[in-house]
């Protein structure tokens, strides 16, 4: 499958491992181009060995742990070599009413939950955790990795009530999280790339009281976007990073800035919809 600029190949030798692997980049487009990165899971008696291009083999171990190794290697290898005119950023991207919103914040701040809530309402996304940014165009585009949802998120969003998750394509339960393809949340999941209309900052320390969406410092929002840049500062992608940071600042120079506070992802999603339609 194509995760530009790479072509990732996942292989395995049994059905259970195959289902697990298919959940990782389930929504990524397939391609006939030759693979640039190869990952595999091979198992015997319920124990698996995971292989990646960049590390020694891992295992034998449980399918969950072997899969987690592949998941981490696959994303690490892509992040560290984003291509000549790209960097990856730790952010979610959602189009609401045609307007692209960047959701930025540290891990655990609620980006995935909010993105999943908006996607399940039919608002297309670029991703929930990682986006691709092209400094020369100032545009963000999709990184089609599956969402990682926990039990609480599934309950709050009332996803698949009464269904067996085994029946939902592109899902895999690993290490306490359900990996869910965005296709499973909304068939027309993929947003058009573009420049952001707004930046929504999520801070874990502001979860008190009723949900609110406040105006925020545009400069501080730009700083958060710069801080979200991913990948190694040395190696094949390092050259692009010098221009990328400035490009990130410029990409949000005209964007409105908001900050989320309070509790309640559904109420927050309501506020985001209202702001994007104002």
């Amino acid at each position: 499958m194509s995760i530009a600029p790479h072509v990732l190949e996942f292989s395995c030798d049994d059905e259970e491992a195959g289902r697990a692997l298919s959940a990782l980049y389930h929504a990524a487009p397939e391609t006939d181009l030759p693979p640039t990165l190869r990952y595999s899971l091979s198992g015997t008696g319920g124990r698996y060995v995971a292989r990646s291009p960049s590390r020694p083999p891992f295992g034998p171990t449980s399918l969950e742990e072997a899969w987690a190794f592949v998941e981490w290697r696959a994303i690490e290898d892509v992040l560290n070599d984003p291509g000549p005119d790209a960097v990856f950023v730790h952010a979610a991207g959602v189009r609401v009413g045609g307007r692209l919103l960047l959701l930025v914040g540290p891990s655990g701040s609620g980006k995935t939950t909010l993105a999943a809530a908006l996607l399940s309402r039919g608002h297309p996304v670029l991703g929930d955790d990682v986006l691709r940014f092209a400094p020369t165009t100032g545009e963000y585009s999709a990184f089609p990795r599956s969402f990682k949802l926990d039990d609480n998120t599934l309950t709050v969003l009332e996803l698949w009530r009464g269904s067996s998750l085994d029946e939902v394509p592109g899902t895999f339960l690993a290490l306490g999280c359900l990996y869910v393809s965005p296709v499973a949340l909304c068939h027309a999941w993929l947003a058009e790339p573009g420049r952001p209309w707004g930046v929504v900052v999520l801070d874990p320390g502001r979860r008190e009281g009723a949900a609110r969406l406040e105006s925020f410092s545009e400069g501080q929002a730009a700083v958060r976007v710069v801080q979200s840049m991913l990948g190694a500062s040395t190696g094949p992608g390092a050259g692009a990073r010098v221009n990328a940071g400035l490009g990130l600042v410029e990409s949000v120079a005209q964007a409105r800035a908001f900050r989320v506070g309070g509790l309640g992802v559904l109420a927050t999603a309501d506020l985001v919809e209202e702001a994007a339609r104002s």
Binding site: G219, A222, V249, A253, A257
Partner: protein, 92 residues
């Protein structure tokens, strides 16, 4: 704690870029991949950190473009801004 004096003739690093973001200004330090938010007054100070002016001369240069509630405040603000720039490693 001993506070450092502002550099005598501050010179901005060539690889630090100033950009307007909304109503604010952001300095991007490419070498450290860090960004700093400035208000309009600090952005004006930055623009005059060309290695030829001391903080007093910078204060005179920007006096026409910033409002100040009291005499001497601009000079103090310039000293503070230059010290901050130095502390963040933004000057040569």
């Amino acid at each position: 704690m001993h506070e450092r004096a502002a550099p005598p003739r501050p010179l901005a690093r060539a690889d630090v870029a100033l950009r307007r973001v909304g109503s604010e200004w952001v300095l991007f330090d490419a070498a450290r991949e860090r960004a700093h938010v400035l208000n309009q007054a600090a952005a004006a100070v930055w623009a005059f950190c060309d290695g030829t002016r001391d903080p007093g001369e910078i204060a005179l240069a920007i006096a026409g473009s910033v409002t100040s509630p009291e005499p001497g405040a601009i000079a103090r603000d310039v000293e503070d801004a230059v010290r901050r720039f130095a502390a963040e490693g933004l000057l040569q």
